[in-house]
Amino acid sequence: MAAKRNLYLTLVAITVVAILLWFAQENLNPYYQRILTLSAIYSMFAVTFNLIFGYTGQFSLGHAGFAAVGAYVTALLTMSPAQKVANFFLQPIVPFLRDVELPFLPALLIGGFVTVLVSLIVGVPALRLRGDYLAIATLGFSEIIRVLLVNLQPLTNGALGLKGIPSNTNLLYAWGMLGFCVFVCKRLVDSSYGRAMKSVRDDEVAAEALGVNLFKHKILAYIVSSFFAGIAGGLLANLISTIDPKVFYYTLAYQIVGITVMGGMGSLTGSIISASLYTIFLELLRPIESQINIGSLQIPGIPGMRMVIFSVLLLVVILFYRKGLMGDTEFTWDALFRFLRKPKGRNDQEGKVA
């Protein structure tokens, strides 16, 4: 009964969102479109990090590297040969990359697959490591990728980066891919394999004693995570139309960790909300830096103040919403109804369980 109702509600919601996105695509100010598109891309980063860490407990800091591989592959596949030749004016591009030109969607998917392949090079050995050692190994891996991007000029154009990447990414692509990513992650997490992933996170020894193949499930989460992170990277490249290795500095991984913790470890909904708020707040705070006039009083803008306030806000959320905005709960229709209908009753119920 309720299940059927929820299914219909979900379908209706998806339709409404799709129509809204389509409408926004046509009518919304490009500035807002860009912010919303970026929100979707950061959401994908956060959701994929949540899958590998929040659900599987593997502290992988390789996201900047994943994004870099996805971005470069997608960019090189979608750029026109002429554009590539113009870009590689210091050292010519290798011929096989020069001549390919693919439509956006296949390029994105190939980007995702290549990301998986590259990430497995370090993932297969490194996933044996635990906790912080895994973190530093994957962080190092992502820096190695960046160094390679800088040095392999005939493949990547080095520090000069790529420009003139067709700006294919739009609201529909970004949110559509996010939807696909969330769908896959949610289905995975809710399946028997998801239970196994959570058991690996909670207690590796016990999980193994219950027949869970640790490596298989870690690598499973890692593959799905890197695939979608690669796609998010591809979306980013085709959104800003120009990339260089500096975009994928390891600090990107820190940002993603921050966003995910803010949203709540183990909550995909939380990741999306948090990533969107992150992107939007960064923009909302901009007026702080320009001159503010209150009557005749002029407060000169202090450049850089925005980032200070933003980091304070970030810390406040981390310090006071310790389980993140959503804890480990997801958005469900039932929860929404409960929230709307009987907030008091819900309190009592939860009190009892806890």
């Binding site: 050692y133 891996f141 820096e143 160094v147 913790v261 200070v308 310090l319 310790r322």
Partner: protein, 297 residues
């Protein structure tokens, strides 16, 4: 490579490595006690250097007054960070602490840009650190030796504190088992604060010497040493003071030697450093000096 060139490079590597080591031992100590990757550590390095800059440039203080004051101020900042950002999260998953460290680091860097300005500043070396020493064909500047000596002294001091004093014993106890230690009537908060204070002081000392060697200050100057020190700490076996020292020296020497031997491969230097790290971890997952922690089943 001639013997002189080799010695020259070796000295340069050891002096760079000593700086890494000095920052890494602070890193590793905080990690050993709280299991916290304190990414804000690198920013304390930056703060230490800036305090000295302001002491000398604005207040015209002599270096022997500024250095202790800078270390003291940085220690204070370290304590404030620990009390306000890390302590409230102590009983939460470690990822929260990690995120808080990222937030703190973000805040310090951006504050530094606003307050100190983004333009790199010149750090003036005290004269006695600037004289040239020639041993055979190897030219050294006096700071090179002073950095190495300071690093060794500080490391020995720290090991003395950890192994021989009451506070150090409490620290070791906390790193083994925080809960049990608190049951034994030891004031955990107090000890952790002391650990942070020592770590921050080391970061400041490292920062000042860093600025002596590389007399250019900018708000993001702590990022690279912070990351390198972290790698050094992991190389040596994170949580192990001697390990951090060895890891730091090793990293410094390898970085210099790699470029000296293969100048055309200089662009790949960091990639090699990381590759070595990853390979080492695969064969010895707990670093050079790390103990294997058998999990109790």
């Amino acid at each position: 490579m001639t013997f002189e060139a080799f010695m020259q490079n070796l000295m340069n590597g050891v002096s760079l490595g000593s700086l890494y080591a000095m920052i890494a031992i602070g890193y590793t100590m905080v990690y050993g006690i709280l299991r916290l990757i304190n990414f804000a550590h690198g920013d304390l390095v930056m703060l230490g250097a800036y305090w000295v800059f302001y002491g000398v440039a604005i207040f015209q203080l002599p270096w022997w007054v500024t250095f202790p004051i800078a270390i003291l101020l940085t220690t204070l900042v370290g304590i404030i960070i620990e009390r306000s950002a890390y302590k409230p999260l102590r009983n939460y998953p470690r990822i929260n602490l990690f995120a808080a460290a990222v937030g703190v680091s973000f805040l310090l860097e951006n504050l530094a840009i606003v307050i100190f300005g983004g333009r790199p500043k010149a750090f003036s070396r005290p004269g006695f650190l600037d004289s040239q020493i020639k041993i055979g064909n190897v030219t050294l500047v006096s700071y090179t030796l002073i950095i190495i000596v300071t690093a060794i002294i500080l490391c020995a001091l720290l090991i003395y504190i950890i192994n021989r004093t009451k506070v150090g014993m409490a620290m070791r106890a906390i790193s083994k088992d925080l809960e049990t230690t608190s049951l034994m009537g030891i004031n955990i908060n107090h000890i952790i604060t002391i650990a942070f204070a020592i770590g921050s002081a080391l970061a400041a000392a490292g920062g000042i010497l860093w600025a002596v060697k590389f007399p250019q200050l900018n708000p993001l100057m702590g990022m690279a040493p912070g990351l390198k020190a972290f790698i050094a700490a992991v190389l040596g076996g994170i949580g192990n003071v001697w390990g951090a020292m060895i890891g730091g020296l090793l990293l410094g020497v390898v970085e210099i030697m790699l470029v000296a031997l293969f100048p055309t491969m200089a662009g790949y230097r960091d990639a090699f450093a990381y590759a070595i790290l990853i390979l080492l971890l695969l064969f010895k997952p707990t670093g050079i000096m790390g103990e294997v922690q058998a999990e109790k089943v």
